[in-house]
Amino acid sequence: MNESSLVSGSRLAATLAIATLVAAGVSLFVGYAPLPAADVVGGLMGDEGTAGVIMREIRLPRMLLGLLAGAALGMSGAALQGLLRNPLAEPGVMGIASFASLGAVIAIYFGLSSVFPLALPAIAMLGALIAAGLLSFLSGRDNGVLTLILAGVALANLAAALMALALNLAPNPYAVSEIVFWLLGSLKDRSLHDVVLATPFVVLGLVILASAGRALDALTLGEDAAKSLGIEVASIQRRVTFGVALAVGASVAVTGAIAFVGLIVPHLCRPFVGHLPSRLLLPSAVGGALLVLVADIAVRLVPSGPELMLGVFTSLIGVPFFLWLVFKLRGEMQ
């Protein structure tokens, strides 16, 4: 492949990985309880007492979930964009995350998650799978921007309507506010239990997506040429859909929907990897983790009274970015 983009591609991944490690470290030192550095380390190492509880039950899960959700969203965005050959594809924008949220709301609402913990990620993943499946079915052979966006808008609205229905029928105001807060997307007040619940599915999803790189490269030439190069297009559609559903479904189940990560990160990484879809997957995962960690540090540092929800924060950055991207694409298409 292009040597210069290859070099800058691996340099990009390495730079992002180092930055992510730093952010992960910083993330452990940021919090509402002022902990001296010695307590942070000691708490992680298994010290008893308040520092241990804060580190192991609050900050560590928060950091790990940031890594997990960011990687899931970043790589899912990159893979969906490659599959649909469209830089506007993203789990959040396309309604996949909304359907995962809907699944999670159903699991919480009917109390399934308290009886059977795996029901939460399972139903969220099922929701994501349905949305991703509908999306690739609706956009089908015609991969025009318009069809895709309309299909995404339709799905997101349907999910929103069904969630509104769930809120409408909610037994008490407390349940309503719990669901609403959860929907906004946050890494706050999660436990190691959540990490353990989501990790296997996210990792499996990422492995599946990473294996699709070659086929996504071939799809650059359109479906017919990809098939003629020995790629089974239908199977790659299934594989990406399934991988996205696992990764996004499982992470949304524990963090709520953190919007726009899958849109912003692949777009920023793409020029560094020569626009080749296969080379975009890994940097997008690492970059996604970095963005979520940094955003989560930011919401803890912004003095906003009650903590700004992470999903709200990423939307505040993401929406202008999305509009800018639409504007730019409109220019290119004319």
Binding site: D217, T220, A225, L229, G230, I231, E232, L276
Partner: protein, 258 residues
């Protein structure tokens, strides 16, 4: 051994029969021009030959083996296909684009071997895009892009090359150049089947011409015999000037027949 064979093949798209009664055999080393009016089934024929759509009836075989029983990757290595109006969805560099043609040869991790790199360099030189190697496809002109896509198809070193209107956007110089590239590919022992509309180029360069009309084979044989004024009138509805220059035919459509 026959490279590509059609036996009484019919192909349907959306339940409509697009091509039917196709019985043809192609040998390695042939340079076959497929010609015919718009909508006569040329592209459908090419897609069926590439294994992209199944025949509704009849049998298509590649080197004696039914097309459906080829392993996908082996078929990709044996049959190169250049679709009409080729798309490139991301602004890859020309080199990265041409390297995609090596995908069926690559290992699981799609790392390019020195053999791949040599084939890519050869194809880029053959199609006169080597000087554009590091340019993104998005900034190329239509003709440069068409040449880069032809290089992509050539890079696979396939024994059968199917090219659907590769010349549509090329200037006269590069049209001739591309035809020479296909000719030398055929001389090197590959079967080359190309859809084209230029009657003179077909007559001068192809070793065989197939005329299609309404989804069927209207005529098949040596260019001089097939591109006769009678056939051109029947198939295309045009009166043509058929002359000669330096011992090779020149064909120019003059007027439409009512």
């Amino acid at each position: 051994m026959t490279a590509l064979a059609f036996e009484n093949v019919a192909v349907n798209l959306a339940k409509r029969t697009i091509v039917s009664d196709i019985t043809l055999a192609f040998e390695p080393g042939e340079l076959v021009g497929v010609m015919g009016p718009n909508g006569s089934g040329k592209s459908t024929f090419m897609r069926a030959a590439a294994g992209l759509i199944d025949a509704a009836s009849g049998a298509i075989s590649i080197f004696g083996k039914p097309i459906a029983s080829w392993r996908r990757n082996d078929r990709g290595r044996t049959v190169g296909y250049l679709p009409q109006g080729g798309q490139v969805h991301w602004p890859l560099t020309v080199r990265a684009l041409v390297t995609l043609g090596r995908l069926p040869h690559a290992d699981r991790f799609a790392r390019a071997s020195s053999q791949d790199e040599a084939a890519v360099a050869r194809a880029m030189t053959a199609c006169d895009v080597a000087h554009l190697a590091d340019r993104p496809v998005s900034v190329l002109s239509g003709g440069e892009r068409a040449r880069a896509l032809l290089a992509r198809a050539l890079a696979g070193d396939a024994k059968i090359l199917l090219a659907d209107e590769p010349f549509a956007q090329l200037d006269p110089n590069h049209q001739l150049h591309a035809m020479e590239v296909l000719q030398s590919t055929a001389r090197a022992g590959a079967l080359v089947v190309v859809v084209l509309h230029d009657l003179s180029i077909a007559a001068r360069h192809c070793s065989r011409v197939i005329l299609m009309a309404q989804g069927r084979i209207a005529a098949d044989g040596a260019p001089a015999a097939i591109l006769s004024s009678d056939n051109l009138r029947k198939t295309f509805g045009v009166d043509a000037f058929i002359g000669e220059h330096g011992g090779a035919p020149v064909i120019l459509p003059l007027r439409r027949r009512a």
